[in-house]
């Protein structure tokens, strides 16, 4: 009986202990639960930061570290200073030869460069820029006239030659000029196709209907507004006309 009592009292005591400890853990759990809303996002933030920093900053740095696995040039034979000098001299000779070839690519006669983005030109003589200024090039408007009639007003790019030069040019209006104005298209040689004085005093022909010519719309110089031709102001056009000959090169980019 006494033993039973003892067992009982021990069981009670242990039960009490369990209760106490469970209470304590509940208390601890409550206190830690209280801060979980701070701890968990903080932990996630730290992990994400470490990951992002590693992948965005550290890995590219690792990849950009010099490698130098063995020698760069493992096949090369150790050379003395005399053979190095000889090699370099030979290389320099080859370089000079290629450089001369490249220099000869630039025309010795006057030429013109035209930027279709900046709408600017540079005139060169004896391989030196002698004049520069504003111009107007193709507007990149796609005129949709329906019935398979579409025109795109872009200035062609590349190397061209002056095919012909003229003073007092007359503009023979193409079909798109009528379509653009909402007018019916006349016959190919109808009087209404010919306009006088709208192209300035000079025109230089590049071929395929493209020209360098003057303009009445000087306020638009420097902007991409044309139907593909290059418009210039009167002074610039005159200077270009007088400097470039038939066959002179025009580079449009």
């Amino acid at each position: 009986m006494t033993n039973n009592n003892k067992n009982l009292s021990n069981n009670e005591a242990s039960n009490n202990l369990i209760e106490v400890s469970s209470d304590a853990s509940t208390l601890n759990g409550k206190s830690s639960n209280k801060y979980l809303w701070v701890i968990i996002p903080l932990e996630i933030l730290i992990v994400v930061t470490v990951f992002v920093a590693f992948f965005v900053l550290f890995v590219p740095k690792i990849q950009e570290m010099p490698i130098n696995v063995g020698s760069y040039d493992s096949n090369s034979i150790p050379a003395d200073s005399a053979s190095i000098a000889k090699t370099n001299k030979e290389l320099q000779k080859q370089i000079n030869k290629i450089e001369n070839k490249l220099i000869n690519k630039t025309p010795k006669t006057p030429y013109l460069t035209i930027s279709t983005v900046k709408n600017e030109y540079v005139l060169y003589k004896k391989q030196k820029a002698i004049r520069y200024g504003k111009c107007s090039t193709g507007s990149y408007i796609l005129l949709d006239g329906g019935e398979k009639q579409k025109w795109i007003f872009r200035t062609p790019k590349g190397e061209f030659r002056i095919q012909n030069k003229t003073t007092g040019p007359v503009w023979k209006k193409p079909d798109w000029a009528f379509v653009e104005e909402g007018l019916p298209i006349p016959s190919p040689n109808h009087n209404s196709r010919f306009e006088y004085g709208v192209l300035g005093d000079y025109a230089l022909y590049l071929g395929q209907g493209y020209m360098l010519h003057g303009t009445l719309y000087k306020r638009f110089l420097g902007l991409a507004v044309t139907h593909g031709c290059v418009r210039l102001n009167d002074d610039d056009l005159e200077a270009i006309y007088k400097t470039l000959d038939i066959g002179s090169k025009v580079y449009i980019f």
């Binding site: 040039d73 190095i84 590349g158």
Partner: protein
């Protein structure tokens, strides 16, 4: 206290896992560079290692190495000059980006800053010569602006509608431009301006995503050598709009 110790244990385990993961990825990232370098160096054929190229060791003869770079650059330009299209010549050493048409310089832009992957410094002299003595073909072009700023205009029905539909010209690009050219040997050429330098961080983020995606999909981690340069915004527009889709570039590192 017990809960705290458990938490510390959990942190330690997680930190070990994280460090292991980071270490493993750092190894993979580094290995990708080494594999790419080995791939590029292997593309060197025996015929190219003959002659003066194989005798140059850049540690012994740095001047010779510079001359080889110059020679390769000029040879690439000679090949470009035989092409009809507009080409880009990038001289990182002299900080110049030049547009050429048939070997004639038509536009020059100053490179403000540049950097390139360390891998490109680690390729052997014959391999450097093999890659850069020929123009690099652009296989893919990505840009933040349109190649051709085409505006569609529906033809007016009559003169009244034509007068109403007059388009005010505005060809100026005000937005910041970023160009990405993917060229031979999987080299990425990034052309950006001052303002958009921050986008390089975005690119790193995209790259990190690409890296992680490869890991998740259990694919071989790859590496892309990059040449990055900062040039003025206007010049980027000129270069991008002048170059054809299948552009060719000569580069000197």
């Amino acid at each position: 206290m017990k809960a705290f110790i458990v938490r510390i244990k959990y942190y330690l385990l997680f930190s070990i896992f994280l460090l292991g993961f980071i270490g493993f990825n750092a190894y993979l990232a580094r290995q990708a560079v080494k594999t790419k370098l080995a791939e590029i160096n292997q593309s060197d054929s025996i015929s190219n290692t003959k002659g003066v190229l194989s005798s140059i060791n850049r540690d012994e003869n740095p001047e010779g190495y510079e001359l080889i770079k110059e020679k390769a650059f000029l040879e690439a330009q000679i090949e470009l000059s035989n092409s009809d299209s507009i080409t880009l010549v990038i001289d990182l050493k002299d900080s110049l980006a030049v547009l050429q048409i048939k070997g004639v310089t038509v536009y020059t832009s100053k490179i403000i800053r540049y950097s390139y992957s360390a891998l490109l410094n680690d390729i052997s002299v014959p391999v450097y010569y093999k890659i850069f003595s020929k123009p690099l073909t652009v296989h893919q072009q990505l840009s933040t602006i349109a190649k051709e700023p085409i505006v569609i205009k529906i033809a007016p029905k009559d003169t009244i509608e034509a007068a109403k539909a007059e388009i005010v010209p505005d060809s100026v690009v005000n937005e910041s431009v970023v160009l990405n050219f993917l060229v031979d040997e999987d080299i990425l050429v990034v052309i950006t301006n001052h303002e958009e330098e921050g986008s390089y961080f975005n690119q790193k983020l995209k790259w990190s995503y690409h890296f992680l995606k490869q890991l998740v999909e259990l694919k071989k981690v790859d590496y892309q050598p990059t040449i990055k340069m900062v040039i003025p915004n206007d010049d980027i527009v000129v270069i991008y709009r002048a170059l054809p889709w299948k552009a060719r570039i000569a580069i000197k590192l």
